[in-house]
């Protein structure tokens, strides 16, 4: 089982959860009130964010909060991903995968410079990737498990060979594992940087702001603003107040509850994410080892009503979200049907079922409340055990000691968890595992996605879990800002194309 991403799920989950977990009705998208004026190349863009990175060492620390601002802006990899999670070249002008899927050949762009002025060569790429391959404490080490060698035939070419084909490898290179650092660099990455991106880090005022400046020596198209200031505002109300007061031009992760306060002055966008609000069933523990019980629980949940209560999000009836390969609409698997749920529970001899939901405290009470009332209608009593995240990690994630659990799984392409019987879901299906490894080994991306879709359908039909919703992130953008990304911004905010106009 490959573990493709290692990131601090807490941080991204927290942000995303807080965004969507509050009861309110949907917020209508708002059309911009004015068309943006002429871009001002000397402007500063002020962006309000919720969660600050604990440090800036992206090589050793996982966390969406770090990746969100540093990848593509400060550091770059050979490849990157678009807002739609599609892979495209970055430092590499071109890349080729051999027919057998074992050899990856990258051609570097011309004139790439590190921020200290040194030219980037293939030797830097080799050194960076060798570190990832050999040092277990570096982010992405596990994703490089199949890497056999990284070589540089010449100064602008990098060749990576794998021991077996891996459909996920290129995607892994879009994350921290693929970033290129200067060979033998002595920069303390916890507080400083020496990347190749369109921005440089100018200042980090811990607990408050991080400032980037445009890199005028950037090898590609220069950034549209002279400076970016990220303001970290952990409190949602304070964030909205800051936006109203004009302190920020863009506010990310807007609480759906508070979004209406920003209408008029800001354009509100709803961005897609790969956040899967997962109601995990302990597949190895009675009575949830009975597929009828699991199906009954899923049939009892009114997903549309739940999303309405949460305030943002879309339905998701299987393990793969729309932005990942292998997505398919699986709503036919569990239509809302409490009557059938009752029958199934009776059949399984579980008419007076009492279950416990273990949920990290930061997810609030909206989801548990809806579940309690939905389950009550089919005769299932739900006790809610709200625990701190570290306790959740120990009890649920490590010790598998739970009935039902709720966590927002934010990682893209993490279907492998359902092909891993040791994962906390405890879901063990040989056919799914087989399909998944086939999909991994499949060289053709379309065929691979097809195999994943088959596996995902099986997982949903087995009711290995319930996917309560696919998260959405609300962003408020001032009319003077244009080009701000909408989708997947809880994992990447690519600022290169953003401009700010002098006046409204």
């Amino acid at each position: 089982m490959l573990r493709r991403t290692r990131r601090l799920a807490l941080i991204s989950a927290l942000a995303a959860a807080a965004v969507v977990l509050s009861a309110c009705s949907g917020t209508p998208d708002q059309a911009p009130s004015t068309s943006p004026g002429k871009p001002d190349p000397d402007a500063t863009l002020h962006v309000g964010l919720v969660l600050e990175p604990s440090n800036l060492d992206i090589r050793h620390t996982s966390g969406a909060a770090i990746e969100q601002i540093l990848i593509d802006n400060i550091y770059e990899g050979l490849v990157t991903r678009t807002q739609e999670n599609e892979i495209e070249g970055r430092l590499a002008s071109d890349y080729e995968v051999s027919e057998d899927g074992l050899t990856y050949t990258f051609t570097l762009n011309d004139g790439i410079l590190f921020h200290d002025g040194t030219a980037l060569t293939s030797a830097d790429v080799v050194a960076s990737y060798e570190t990832v391959r050999t040092d277990a404490t570096v982010q992405g080490n596990a994703e490089f498990a199949a890497v056999e060698s990284v070589t540089a035939p010449d100064a602008t070419t990098v060749e990576i060979t794998l021991s077996e084909p891996n459909q996920n490898f290129l995607f892994a290179l879009t994350g921290p594992a693929g970033l290129v650092f200067k060979k033998g660099d002595k920069t303390d990455l916890k507080t400083a940087e020496n990347g190749t991106g369109p921005f440089t880090l100018t200042r980090w005022n811990k607990g408050s702001t991080i400032t980037f400046a445009r890199n005028d020596d950037y090898w590609g198209e220069k950034a549209g603003v002279a400076e970016v200031e990220f303001q970290y505002i952990p409190d949602f109300t304070a964030g909205v107040n800051a936006a109203i007061a004009g302190d920020v031009d863009v506010l990310t992760a807007v609480d759906p509850n508070l979004a209406s306060q920003l209408e008029g002055d800001f354009t509100l966008t709803k961005g897609r994410t790969t956040d899967k609000a997962t109601l995990a069933f302990n597949n190895k523990k009675a009575p949830l080892d009975d597929v009828r019980v699991r199906e009954a629980l899923r049939l009892a949940i009114d997903h549309d009503a739940l999303i309405e209560a949460v305030g943002a999000g879309t339905t998701l009836y299987g393990p793969i979200p729309e932005l990942d390969p292998g997505y398919e609409d699986l709503s036919d698997v569990v239509p809302y049907d409490p009557e059938k749920a009752k029958e199934l529970l009776a059949e399984a001899g579980q008419e007076d079922l009492e279950l416990t939901l273990t949920i990290p405290t930061f997810y609030g009470t909206t989801v548990p409340k809806v579940l309690i009332s939905d389950f009550e209608k089919v005769g299932v009593t739900l006790d809610v055990d709200s625990v701190e995240f570290p306790a959740w990690l120990e009890d649920v994630y490590t010790n598998h000691d739970y009935d039902l659990s709720f966590v927002l799984h934010v990682e893209p392409r993490d279907f492998g968890n359902f092909a891993n019987p040791d994962y906390y879901f405890g879901y063990d299906n040989a056919e799914v595992q087989d399909l998944y490894s086939q999909a991994q080994a499949e060289v053709d991306p379309d065929k691979s996605a097809e195999l994943l879709a088959q596996a995902a359908r099986l997982v949903s039909e087995d009711h290995a879990a319930d996917w309560l919703y696919n998260g959405e992130t609300i962003t408020a953008v001032s009319p003077i800002v244009s080009g701000f990304p909408e989708d997947s911004i809880n994992s990447r905010i690519n600022l290169a194309g953003v401009t700010v106009s002098a006046e409204k």
Partner: protein, 316 residues
């Protein structure tokens, strides 16, 4: 006096050592660890184990303890497991919110307690005195969180005078805004602590009123109230200082709750966040610094008391 100070100082150090062991051990009882938290929900047990090892969390407890306490003796409070930042530096930074908050709270408490306490003593037996006593009793029983919420409702929501939460991003470079945002929280702690202190001032004043020298002064022709104010109150001052020392502990505890409620970036909030992320080295040092602070205040109060009050010296 010197001998007393030495004995008292030895006790202080012993107290700190015992606290450090207690803090260290109790934190080990928490479920979950920072390595698992950093690794996230995609990491395998082996990866978490590797991380735990690189963070030094696998080492025997005794080694972890001696490392930590050894560092403290060298003046090094350690580094955060998560951020790698110096704990001492961050404490200093956060103290810039918590210390002014504490001082403001204390001042408000004194401003409430001393005049009203004395007034309550003077008015004893009269309707006003009873009202003051009952009021103090009630306020002292109010939970800090509730008091804070009421103040937010009145001063922020209704009157719109003061910000309901937060601290200016610019910090003390905009002193006006900084003080503004500390006023409500300080008022919250100050009122509750002040009410408790007021009951003490009242009873201390009454006790002084019963003393011989006050009665003598009254016999010399002063009114009872004047005798109390001119001769009784100064004598009460000393014991108020002692109680204020104790009050400091109450204010520290109060600030943990209040910083949460008003989202102030102070030591209390940092402590809660660090417990949440199991950044144990950081939590240990923070708790030890706070414990040390309370113990040192107690120590100083004891010494001052002894130096000033002749009766204690004789008793020794």
């Amino acid at each position: 006096m010197v001998r007393y100070a030495l004995v008292r100082g030895a006790l202080l150090i012993a107290g700190l050592l015992v606290s450090s062991v207690l803090i260290f051990l109790t934190l080990r009882v928490f479920p979950g660890d920072v390595a698992q938290l950093i690794a996230g929900t995609q990491a395998s047990p082996t990866e978490v184990e590797a991380l735990r090892e690189s963070l030094g969390l696998n080492r025997p407890l005794v080694a972890q303890y001696t490392d930590w306490i050894g560092g403290i003796f060298r003046g090094d409070l350690g580094t955060s497991l998560l951020s790698g930042a110096s704990v001492g530096e961050e404490l200093f930074l956060k103290a810039q919110v918590t210390v002014p908050l504490g001082i403001m709270s204390l001042l408000i408490a004194i401003l409430i307690a001393v005049p009203f306490g004395i007034l309550a003593a003077i008015l004893r037996g009269r309707r006003g005195g009873t009202a003051l006593s009952v009021g103090a009793q009630t306020l002292a029983a109010v939970p800090v969180v509730w008091a804070g919420m009421m103040l937010i409702v009145v001063f922020s929501v209704w009157l719109g005078w003061l910000p309901p939460q937060g601290f200016p991003r610019t910090g003390w470079s905009t002193p006006g805004r900084a003080i503004e945002s500390l006023l409500l929280p300080a008022l919250t702690i100050g009122i509750v602590e002040g009410a408790m202190l007021m009951r003490f001032v009242r009873s201390a004043t009454l006790q002084a009123a019963g003393q011989d020298f006050v009665r003598t002064a009254a016999a010399k022709g002063l009114t009872r109230t004047r005798a109390l104010i001119q001769h009784g109150i100064p004598a009460v001052g000393l014991s108020i200082i002692t109680v204020l020392g104790l009050q400091v502990a109450g204010i520290i505890v109060g600030s943990v709750v209040i910083e949460q409620l008003f989202t102030l970036p102070g030591i209390g909030r940092m402590l809660v966040a660090d417990v949440g992320t199991r950044d144990l080295i950081k939590v240990q040092s923070e708790l030890l610094v706070l414990t040390g602070f309370v113990l040192v205040v107690g120590f100083v109060v004891d010494l001052v008391h002894r130096a000033i009050d002749p009766r204690q010296r004789e008793a020794a």
